[in-house]
Amino acid sequence: MPALRELEGVYLKSKTDREFQKELARLQMTYVGRPTPLYYAKRFTEHLGGAKIYLKREDLAHTGAHKINNALGQALIAKKMGKKRLIAETGAGQHGVATATGAALVGLECEIYMGSVDMKRQALNVFRMRLLGARVTEVPIGSRTLKDAINEALRDWTTNVQSTHYVLGTVFGPHPFPVMVRDFQAVIGREARKQILAAEGKLPGHLIACVGGGSNAMGLFYAFLDDGVKMVGVEAGGRGIAGGEHAARFAGGSLGVFQGTKTYLLQDEAGNVLGTHSVSAGLDYAAVGPEHPYLKDLGRVEYTYATDEEALSAFELLSRTEGIIPALESAHALAEAVKRAPKLARNEIIVVNLSGRGDKDVHQVAQIRGIEL
């Protein structure tokens, strides 16, 4: 608790600290490459034959995903707190890469926890993190995926709390993480709102984003919450909604308390956390950031899921029609656009958050499709 209180204090101060905000804005522009483009996906749109689809190109941000927005912000916070070391969990490896990058940028030590299952399917990102000077520590216990990596990072943090800041990668965990991570990601929606108004002179009818922990979705949605825009969060449907076969918390979960958060959770009758499955390591997680259930209960955001197969088809379709290889996580959001766009009029607009690029997934997709590289 004292560490969380300290973090909250420093974070709240940073929000109105003009020097801090100026430095963050400067790095977002010159280092991350913001603003990222909002791109009209013309051939993807024509192929589907309905609403106009725009892609918010977070895949073009430095390190290849939206994760850098948060990792950079928290690295600056850690520096401000005088910490010497950053730790983080990672699933797909994107947040680990982003944190290792942030640590290299501000000059801090870095250690990343990653489940053994994820290390295998995201070997490229493991090597990237090591290149960036981070130590990657395998987590061989539990389900050996993202949730176990978070457990291990939390254990490290309680052990080394004086020297270390825990860069939690999504809108999850104890306060202030869900709020702080959302605020660092909200730049996505602020930019997208301006960009779509400039391009179309009106707001989109729909926003679509994938939801693992839920940070890219919160980042896109936050600036539009007061507008009448429909919002859709897409979870991982895996091999279908049966125990252990998916990560769709809203379809198969119930209220629980996990890793410092009260939220929707995939759990058994005794309150133990269930195993999950998704083709996408970044969505393969049993709980969801607490603001999502809040928005669901308000009726403000609709939640649905895409199966592994639907995500893989969307992954291939976007690659072929647009020359953009999306991350498997983002492909879940695209899969929802594939379902939705043909039912909408041609003057309707959908903005999809293309939260990351798919280079990291190429090996895995080849393997699934039975191709040897």
């Binding site: 608790m1 004292p2 560490a3 216990i141 539990g142 949730k147 176990d148 457990n151 939390l154 254990r155 309680t158 052990t159 080394n160 709390v161 004086q162 209220l255 629980g256 308390v257 996990f258 890793q259 410092g260 959770l265 759990q267 009758e269 005794a270 309150g271 133990n272 956390v273």
Partner: protein, 257 residues
């Protein structure tokens, strides 16, 4: 007065310290755990801490994580651990305290948990991922019964925080001897003694020390300034690797405390 209060009152009158061994319920089976608890009592344990297995034991090191995995594989749940206490109670006079994470209690329903635990003969509950700020519901139900709510003080806790934790704790206060997880290496410098004396400046409630105490020497050193010593990972390890030597470890620890 509940069994825990009676125990500490008696020990204080005799100028003795509480020996509090831990066992993961259901590792490897509930029948074995019953035998183990009775062995603890015969070996002179003053209080027994019964671990409830959970899929994501955040505060625990590898030894207890693995024990929890084994117990879960044996199908052990919070409900079954309460059943175990009910089964042991007629043969066992010492206080039994559950150490569980919050989600199993939350899923069970806090009101039903307190009712069933008390009814079975549970004397206290330790929930390492439940800070006093979030424990209103548990404390409300527990305060109407004899169920003690034991909260944890860490080496990083400030005076203000110790006051809050002490205020919420009944039975005893659990001082976590290291910043970290169960089964870590303890360093026997003066910091534990100093922290305990800071806690004693704030509260008269008994303070037991755990996390990282594994050898009789460490137990002896810690017991000089604490009211009780909790030993978990070292016992869980012995029980798993060479159960025939558990009795010997128990008597060594008992002599040391």
């Amino acid at each position: 007065m509940n069994r825990i209060d009676k125990t500490f009152k008696k020990l204080r009158a005799q100028n003795k310290k509480a020996f509090i061994p831990y066992v993961m319920a259901g590792d490897p089976s509930l029948e074995k755990s019953k035998e183990t608890v009775l062995l603890f009592e015969r070996s002179g344990a003053d209080i027994v801490e019964l671990g409830v297995p959970f899929s994501d034991p955040l505060a625990d090191g590898p030894t207890i994580q693995r024990a929890a995995e084994r117990a879960l594989q044996a199908g052990v749940t919070l409900r079954k651990v309460i059943g175990l206490v009910r089964d042991i109670r007629p043969d066992c006079q010492i206080p039994l305290v559950l150490m569980t994470y919050y989600n199993p209690v939350f899923k069970y329903g806090v009101e039903g948990f307190v009712r069933d635990a008390v009814d079975a003969g549970v004397d206290g509950v330790i929930i390492p991922d439940l800070p006093p700020e979030e424990a209103g519901e548990l404390r409300r139900y527990a305060s109407a019964t004899h169920l003690a709510t034991i909260f944890l003080v860490a080496p990083t806790s400030t005076g203000e925080r110790i006051k809050k934790i002490a205020g919420a704790s009944t039975g005893f206060i659990y001082y976590v001897s290291i910043t970290g997880i169960t089964g870590s290496k303890l360093s026997l410098d003066s910091s534990i003694r100093e922290s305990l004396s800071a806690i004693r400046g704030i509260t008269k409630k008994p303070v037991a020390v755990g996390f990282g105490v594994s050898t009789p020497e460490e137990a002896k050193a810690v017991s000089e300034s604490a009211d009780g010593v909790i030993i978990g990972s070292a016992i869980v390890k012995k029980l798993h690797e060479s159960p025939e030597n558990l009795g010997k470890l128990m008597s060594e620890l008992r002599r040391a405390i």
